[in-house]
């Protein structure tokens, strides 16, 4: 039999129909739904008199719009947001799908809730009307974002019309140096390959440095596969994956678990399988990084200086000029001298328990810089509860951070958590696009430890100085 990649294997096990030209119907095992990209899809079903094909495989949770302030039970959403969340309440009920409403302690960011509840398992196909669905690839699940028309298609048929992507391998060899995290890996890969480097591919991340990561870290890496342009990111399941899944509410139990695990153990890339593109990075070469511009590929080690447009070629010269102007940065300035106004810790990239532990470790017994706004938004109600139990919440609060309720928050600022014009933020989120965190807001993407360090000094800071 031909040697196959992990992606090949999952793909092969989900083709429900293949046309002569290679167009396939790919069967979807889990469909995650949130309030922003789904109302038009449910409306489409209603208009056509269609049902949800597999309500048991469909899981919904509101996250993008919901306020994260402690008083949110009393309202706090503007009219439009409230309508969108209420539409999800109604659609979940009418169509009989699994639902975690805002009032449920399990509510949170859809990509954190899915794995946490055991909905996401190795070897599955997982989709959601959200580009960061790539997160679930950390389990060895083929997971990617889709548009609203495709959301409707999956609701109605439990399949997607797809053509197979190409295989790309990203290998991170050896060990990471102290202070370097999963976020630094994933940003460094994008810095190397560019935001279109993965276009047309599904990436499999492998190598010792990836194996060494926890499941939380692996989710951070796969989460940003989309920022590198890839359809999806994948990491082969191993003992850490099984340990994470075991005992989760929707993970299989007993004999079903045994059967599942036996199948999961076949999910790896065979020796000699073909990759169309290979990128190898030495773990020891990765430094704690920050973004300086308005594209996630604008990545540099914290020890570097702000680049000049002349450092680039082609269309990137104009883009760099525009970015520097938008970011209010002067070429040649050391990145560690860039002063910030705000720190945001959270999002589907870095809103898990390990992220909060890493930030708290730096903040313990210290205070955020005077006048700086700092907030922590746990990725789910359960992450929040665990952080409180572990004493992390107290560390954040004592340091001067706001301790919020779960949601997407300032990552995309569809809710009240936003940057104001010119406000500069060290953020653990995934996108530094113009206006992403608020009109004319300035975003520097960093790891949780780097965000915490920046909160203490009031400028972009090398976390290694605090360790």
């Amino acid at each position: 039999m031909t040697a196959r990649t992990l992606y090949d294997k999952i793909w092969d096990d989900h083709v429900a129909h293949e046309a002569e030209d290679g167009t396939c119907l790919l069967y979807i095992d889990r469909h995650l739904v949130h309030e922003v990209t789904s109302p038009q899809a449910f409306e489409g079903l209603r208009m056509a008199g269609r049902k949800v094909h597999a309500p048991d495989k469909t899981i919904a949770v509101p996250d993008h719009n919901v306020p994260t302030t402690l008083d949110r039970a009393n309202g706090g959403m503007n009219e439009e947001s409230r309508i969108q969340v209420e539409a999800l309440d109604t659609n979940a009920k009418d169509f009989g799908i699994h639902y975690y409403p805002v009032s449920d302690v399990r509510q949170g960011i859809v990509h954190i809730v899915g794995p946490e509840q055991g909905w996401t398992l190795p070897g599955m196909t997982v989709v959601c009307g959200d580009s960061h669905t790539a997160t679930h690839g950390a389990f060895g699940a083929l997971a990617h974002g889709i548009g609203t028309s495709e959301v409707e298609h999956v609701l109605a048929t439990q399949t997607l019309i797809q053509k197979k992507s190409k295989n790309m391998k990203v290998e991170i060899t050896g060990k990471l140096r102290p202070g370097v995290t999963a976020k630094d890996i994933t940003l460094s890969v994008i810095g190397e390959t560019g935001t279109a480097g993965g276009t047309g591919y599904v990436i499999e991340y492998c190598g010792e440095a990836i194996r060494d990561l926890s499941m939380e870290g692996r989710m951070t890496v796969c989460n940003m596969a989309i920022e590198g342009g890839a359809r999806a990111g994948l990491i082969a399941p191993d003992e850490k994956t099984y340990a994470y899944c075991k005992g989760r509410p929707h993970a299989p139990k007993g004999a079903a678990w045994e059967a599942a695990e036996a199948y999961w153990r076949t999910l790896f890339t065979d020796d000699g399988a073909h990759f169309d593109k290979v990128v190898t990075i030495k773990g020891e070469d990765i430094a704690p990084v920050v973004t300086w511009g308005t594209s996630p590929e604008d990545v540099l080690p914290i020890t570097a200086t702000v680049p000049a447009p002349e450092d680039f070629e082609g269309g990137k010269v104009e883009a760099a000029k525009r970015s520097l102007d938008y970011m209010g940065l002067t070429p040649g300035t050391p990145l560690s001298e860039v002063e910030i106004d705000t720190v945001f810790i959270g999002s589907c990239t870095n809103g898990r328990i390990e992220d909060l532990r890493a930030a708290a470790e730096i903040l313990k017994g210290k205070k955020v810089k005077d006048g700086l706004r700092a907030m922590v938004v746990p990725g789910s109600g359960l992450v929040r509860a665990q952080a409180e139990e572990e004493g992390l919440a107290d560390i954040f609060k004592d340091a001067g951070f706001e301790w919020r309720l779960a949601g997407c928050s300032m990552c995309l600022a569809m809710n009240p958590d936003q940057l104001s014009e010119g406000e500069r933020c060290a953020s653990t989120s995934n996108r530094n696009f113009e206006g992403r965190q608020g009109y004319k807001g300035r975003t520097h993407l960093v790891s949780p430890g780097m965000a915490a360090a920046a909160a203490l000094t009031g400028r972009l800071t090398d976390v290694r100085e605090m360790m």
Binding site: R50, L121, G123, G145, H153
Partner: protein, 201 residues
Amino acid sequence: MDKFEALTGIAAPMPLVNIDTDMIIPKQFLKTIKRSGLGVNLFDEMRYDRQGNEIPDFVLNKPQYRDAEILVAGENFGCGSSREHAPWAIKDFGIRCVIAPSYADIFYNNCFKNGILPIALPQEQVDVLMKDAEKGANARMTVDLEAQTVTTSDGEVFNFEVDAFKKHCLLEGLDDIGLTLGKADAIKKFEASASTARPWI
């Protein structure tokens, strides 16, 4: 879905790389529960100041490009968020075709679901089309999906590639869900065999 067959119209030049979907339609407009009405907010933060006044320099505010039906842009167009509000806004504005060297995957797929034709051409050819678009309203470009050609106002012709199935659906204005439901037996058969092979799912 609306058909796309051929189009002759004004092309607006946007020589920027990595135009992301947050730029195309900022998040504050994603709160709608409808697909329509987003055209007025297309490229909102580049197009209007904080008071809602038009920024005269922005291409779609210039008199010659207000009725543009084609957009010519830099590489990796539509990167970022999966929001289908981006193609909805583009279409609602009146643009039916985008030409760029490359696209982000999800945006590219979303276009075809909405009767928009995204054309990928090599950078050198996009450069020629960009120059043509910069000539303004009198320089009208022609896009022919059946023939898979773009013709500049000077009559220069470029051929483009498009997936045969996607082309077919766009030319006929076919509804994907209807097509897939026609294969309901295959889906049922798959579900039966998968529930034996992987019952825990």
